[in-house]
Amino acid sequence: MAFLKEKKNLTEGSAGNEAQVVVASSNHAAGQNARNIPLIIAREYKARVQKRSFQVGTIILVVLVIVAAFVPTIIQLISSNSQSKIVVVNRASQVAGLEPVAYLDTQLNTTITATGQIQPTAPGKKKDFDIKAAQPGDLKSLQQQVRDGKLDGLLVINRAASGELNFEYFSNGSPTGATATRIQAATTQLNFLDKLGRLGIPQSQLNTLFQSPNLSVTSASDEKSGRSAEETGAATLVVTLGIILIFTTILQYGATVAQGAVEEKSNRIMEIMINAATPFQLMIGKIIGIGLAGLTQIAALAVAGVIAFLVQDPLKSVILGNATGGTRIDITGLSIGLLGLVVLYFILGFLLYGTLYAAVGSLISRQEDVQTALTPLTFLFMAGYFISLFSLGATDALWVKVLSFVPFFTPTLMLSRAGISNLAWWEVPASIVIMLISIVIFTWLAGRIYRAGVLMYGQKPSMGRLVKLALSR
């Protein structure tokens, strides 16, 4: 990288009395990239990872991830423990040749399969309703039991003089609650059967009347993408979490890069470092070292998340006695591929934004100015973030397609497109190539700013100065 010329023409008419000290980039240390950059990466990495705030922060995040992963199981655990105890007092004897209590038991305890079929709850699994029969003479004491909360409901089946069935439901729950609604549906069926029975429809035909129809459900969007509903669910989850993770990590660690550059200037270690290494080495080492610290945190979260996810099913079978149900997410090749893309786009995005953060940081000399100076960058990044979240609903729109190839938006936008719609085979490789090229260009530009910035004190960085320094000979 020998672009330093003997004569430097840095004169600016409006510059006033400022001294622009541009560090020679081709001095002898430049030949030591292979030795110095790894050393600087190691130092920067250690400096972040050994920080108490990093360790505590990572532990807190890991705990949050694990808790979040267990929430569905916990909810299921709570809901599965609630079994509605219903006592049925039958004063109508047989209904259409059926025993009403047994009929209600089978009708209320059903589950809906993934393909939309209604099936009776498999034997051995916990039923939603515990249905028991009782004698009409116990009515008073049963009502008292409901009042005391020992029973969830009391259903009385009567037959009026006209022959019509009528039902009395006595419970603590709301009349429009889930339990009451299901009781209502079951009693409606019972009433219907009874009427048909009295009209003389034979028993054998009545039996099949309420069998669930042979309905097969297919999602048009799943058909188009060739994915199952579970796969799409997993992909959306991975993409959403991936975008949030990429966004927060780059924002946080990018600011750390800028802060690191400012720190070296404000405590004047730069004076020594600049003798031992080149500004380019310092910048690259800092970006990569801090990026690796960010990656470490992401890896810790990912490992915690995957482990928490994998222990869900065994855990469920231990505490619930069953391993299915709840949120069904299928970890398939698709979502593993997406996880790979999350990591890849994080690395590329961090390298790209890292150069910008480093360049801005190198121009500031006081810690207090960091936030202000980073504001424009934060806006640029926020724009990409919001577009990405917004694009989750419109991944096929043309403007999303176009923007997903703009390097600053690629990491999040291309990710959401890859997760939600089907990409042509060349789109991801093309976006990676575009990003790599822009990383090289921006590293070069930022390197030029950095070597002018590191020995410059007391001047406010502006966009204009940034451009001027990057383009000055």
Partner: protein, 318 residues
């Protein structure tokens, strides 16, 4: 065999920091590089270190341009001190020495020896920010010399230290000299220059003002001073009336003056005796480097003196 600086110039924006500066530093010597604040010393040093490039002129070490000298050859103690505050002493020094290409085992061996010598072994696992200022400065000093550079450039190495630590660092400094290192030493403490340096140069406004060996510089001041003390007449008021005498200092313990024709030392001595003075000191001395420094660069407005704060007066609201 020398560091040769030939006609270098450097401008920043509209400020010419160094103009047409030449000097020569012999291998193995302690060279005093002096000048007031803002004279262009730091800029010159940075050009010697090839951190920045001169607009014109060249700098060579033993015939090779400094751009081709490995970084390991240089040790730089900048005027503005700085270390990574959160790094411990060991990690910090090993990191810097390895950047200069030393292997870890060698650094550790060297480090043990030096920490022992500087009596800071117990602090080696402490963060730099937890050390006293004096100890921080010792660490900084080690950061400059640990990689065994050939040329040391030290800007105010002894400032801000107590006398005990000054001696400790001075010993290490002289040890470096004994090991044959070339040392370029910058300070505002002229006694230290007289004590340590063979050759000096004084620059001002980016230009050479005085150069040569300390003795030459003193002689070239072109005059000698006389110090006279009379036990019974501390002020020696009559000296003012002697033609050719100009008083430079009236101290409690002696009066210092320059002599010019027609006055001679004999004449002064005679006059003192005639007036019944009890002579306790009569000395013919060279002017101190301090005097020469002030005389040559003093009184010149310095570029980076901060603008005085606006007067705080009532009713001066803006």
């Amino acid at each position: 065999m020398a560091l040769l600086i030939e006609n270098i110039s450097k401008s920043f924006a509209n400020v010419q920091a160094v103009r047409n500066l030449s000097m020569q530093v012999e291998q193995g010597e302690i060279f005093g590089f002096l000048g007031p604040n803002g004279a262009g010393k730091t800029t010159t040093i940075r050009m010697i270190l090839d951190i920045i490039r001169p607009d014109s002129g060249r700098i060579t070490w033993n015939g090779a341009p400094v751009t081709e000298i490995p970084r390991k050859a240089w040790g730089y103690l900048p005027e503005e001190r700085g270390l990574y505050p959160k790094m411990n002493v060991d990690d910090q020094l090993i990191f810097l020495a390895r950047l200069y290409g030393m292997d870890k085992a060698t650094v550790k061996r060297e480090l043990d020896e030096w920490l022992e010598r500087f009596q800071i072994t117990t602090y080696r696992k402490k963060k730099v920010e937890e050390l006293s200022k004096g100890n921080q400065q010792k660490v900084q000093f080690l950061a400059t010399i640990l990689h065994e550079p050939q040329i040391l450039i030290m800007d105010e190495p002894f400032s801000g230290l107590d006398p005990v630590n000054v001696n400790l660092l001075k010993d290490a400094f002289l040890e470096m000299h004994r090991r044959g290192k070339t040392i370029i030493f910058s300070t505002h403490q002229m006694e230290q220059v007289e004590e340590l340096c063979q050759n000096i140069s004084i620059i001002n406004k980016g230009q050479m003002v005085v150069e040569g060996s300390v003795r030459q510089v003193k002689r070239s001041a072109g005059r000698s001073v006389v110090r006279l003390a009379l036990d019974n007449d501390p002020q020696i008021a009559w000296l003012d009336l002697v033609p050719g005498v100009s008083i430079t200092k009236r101290r409690q313990d002696y009066v210092e003056f320059n002599l010019a024709a027609p006055a001679t030392t004999d004449q002064i001595l005679q006059a003192a005796l005639q007036r019944g003075g009890h002579i306790t000191l009569f000395e013919l001395a060279e002017p101190s480097l301090n005097d020469i420094f002030i005389e040559r660069v003093g009184g010149i407005a310095q570029p980076d003196v901060p603008v005085p704060a606006a007067p705080v007066e009532t009713g001066m609201r803006r």
